[in-house]
Amino acid sequence: MATIVAEPTGIPVVEEHHEMSFIRKYIFSSDHKVIGIQFLFLSLFFLLVGGLLAMLMRWQLAWPGRPMPFGGLFPETMAPDGIMLPEFYISLVTMHGTFMVFFAIMLLLVGVYANYLIPLQIGAPDMAFPRLNMLSFWTAVPAGLIALASFAVEGGAAGAGWTSYAPLSGMPEYSGVSMGQQMWIVSLVLLGLSSILGSTNYITTVINMRAPGMLWTRMPLTVWALFITAILGLLAMPVLSGGLIMLLFDQTIGTHFFLPETGGQPLLWQHLFWFFGHPEVYILILPAMGFVSEILSAGSRKPVFGYKAMVGAIVAIAFLGFIVWGHHMFQSGMNPVLGTSFMVSTMVIAVPSAIKTFNWMGTMWRGNLHFHTPMLFAIGFVMLFVIGGLSGIFMASAPFDIFIHDTYFIVAHIHYVLFGGALFAIFAAIYYWFPKMFGRMMNDRWGKIHFALTFIFFNLAFFPMHTQGLAGMMRRLYDTSGYTHTADLQGTHLLITISAFALFATGVIFAINFFGSMFRGEKAPPNPWNATSLEWQTPSPPKHGNWEQAPVVYHGPHEYSHPDVTDKDWLAQNERPDVVSPAGH
């Protein structure tokens, strides 16, 4: 290849659009960037809610039966005299899982970044169906509000775990919760609808709206990950919706799908739930893996190691993700022969994750590592996801799962993959794309402090849960001190709780940095990280319609340190390999 002279194309000359009303522009907007930012605020709010619920749980676990600070604010039905009731604890666990999985992490990964990044990274002016996109956001809002409101109704919020196993979830007589359980279902049906509409949009957009030259093999790994994630959502979500509707009917109109009295099958609910649920946990990690690949590559100033293998691994994880759901049911009374086959497929699914892990290391190898905040969080992601993934191997082994199923070992796994994994990648992504979204940089020093403290307190809070699990401590226990084999673990609980409070405090640091930078941050250049993908070749923030003149793509997505480019260490995807003729205006 001849020497490449950089000639950026596609930075639009901005023409002022006629004024839109505030409502059309920021509330009922159909611009994918606005919708992405709306999702960002919504999901951070639910992250905060989920975090607050976790703090209440941790209080009870460390000091069972001791009145909570501000406990007087709670009504008699939750915490008389500030002392938490068992039923309230169960609602907290359930809603903590629900908010975190469905409303915080899923919306952060997919709602925010699929909306914001897909059109920008493939060079499209907007989504394929902008108004459908708006509808998708405005279905997610009431879904979240209904879930939140369920704390206020009689009987309290749902109390059957985020997995809502029947018959406990199907019969108010058993759980003491009726309205709350129904609101939980309605909320998730709405969220499922929102997610299906969104997925339809993302898939169509990626298939049909890529800019000229944006071949499948030139898509940034983020787009690949979001595309495959959308397929998972599209095919898994409706199965949950179907199951939820049957569960709702069991509660309300007297059907008996999951209630054994007249031949219903409790295990059917578990099969339906996990047929959705396992792909769901990959929905919660694949986009994170995409962000991390991209940020690691930019931070290391190197192309992603083994791009094709990375794409193949994403596809393989998605495909295998549909055939492993039974590993959540090893001890459920499922046919043990099925247990064997699910165990083997679960083992196999770790292989593509191994490919990804080693390719990330390959990307860092012989790089020129810039430790800015997004890079730190991305490296943190790899270090912590691996721990969570490896603990998954213990559970994947069905005979050992006999012992650790439904113990804190699982809780440790959940948080290593979802917090250490997904949430770390989300922090990386927020720091990385914040300048594009808001036109200002986030404070890097406070970002690094946030990273360091989060990394430390995260491990202090969740690593000890492995040992609690190995000691046999069960999950979803209001008070763990009553069992002889775990009675001496109260000290560990204390350590965890204090670290969890500190962890929440690091969230506050982040929040201050986030809002502070939005108004006071340093003005961001179009491409602060010297990155290659298309979104960086527009102003920060990009204007309505994204491009004045459509970008044309000439290169792969992560071309850093190309030997033929000598004046800088990156090559934007839309830089022409020569300057024979300037792109026509």
Binding site: A124, P125, D126, A128, F129, I196, S199, T200, N201, I203, T204, I207, N208, M209, R210, A211, P212, G213, M214, L215, L234, L235, A236, M237, P238, V239, L240, S241, G242, G243, I245, M246, F249, I253, G254, T255, H256, F257, T262, G263, G264, Q265, L268, L272, Q549, A550, V552, G584
Partner: protein, 200 residues
């Protein structure tokens, strides 16, 4: 209808994708998710029925096969008028477009009418969703299918109005084609339901 087509790209076509227009891709993608939704419901029916096969009622014992057979025929007819409406629009036959869209909406509504009649008869005989697994699965599956037909009828009514205002004239057939995909899919689901719920 041709959203964000060529002009935007200043003459250079975007990457080819599925080689059909965007709305059609979107509808097919959406239908994939509908397939999984009905898989959840129909699959549960199959699974529950296998577990209780001795107690399952014989075909025709509770449900009225002749009435439903006629209703099936009605739905098939609506699919024909739907596809005719699309064909008319594509060939520029304005009168045909209008007539066939109207017919589709009306026939679809007729299907719903028969289904409501069927439900009221069954409920009158004390067979409701609370009547064991058979009742639970029957009402849930046919109810959600009916809900899909209902949504279709609403859209078709809107499409009829649009057709009479000339919205599908001059080669502007995509809207009807995409709506048709949905309509035929709902018909297709009914074909499966009719067989496994009523006949087997």
């Amino acid at each position: 209808m041709e959203a964000h087509a060529m002009p935007y790209y200043g003459g250079r076509a975007p990457e080819k994708g599925l080689a059909v227009y965007t709305q059609k891709v979107g509808m097919w993608v959406f239908l994939c998710s509908e397939v999984m939704f009905f898989t959840g419901l129909i699959g549960s029916y199959i699974i529950l029925r296998f577990g209780a096969s001795e107690t399952w009622p014989q075909p025709g014992e509770i449900l009225n096969i002749p009435v439903t057979a006629i209703n099936t025929f009605i739905l098939i007819c609506s699919s024909v008028t739907m596809v005719k409406a699309f064909a008319a629009s594509e060939m520029g036959d304005k009168r045909g477009t209008r007539l066939y869209t109207l017919a589709t909406a009306v026939i679809g509504a007729a299907f719903l009418g028969v289904q409501i009649y069927e439900y009221s008869e069954l409920l009158g005989h004390g067979f409701g969703p609370w009547s064991g697994l058979y009742g639970s699965t029957f009402y849930t599956m046919t109810g959600f299918h009916g809900f899909h037909v209902f949504s279709g009828v609403v859209c078709m009514t809107w499409a009829t109005v649009k057709a009479f205002r000339g919205g599908y004239d001059n080669g502007n057939y995509q809207g009807l084609e995409v709506l048709g995909l949905y309509w035929h899919f709902v018909d297709l689901v009914w074909i499966i339901l009719f067989t496994i719920v009523y006949l087997i």
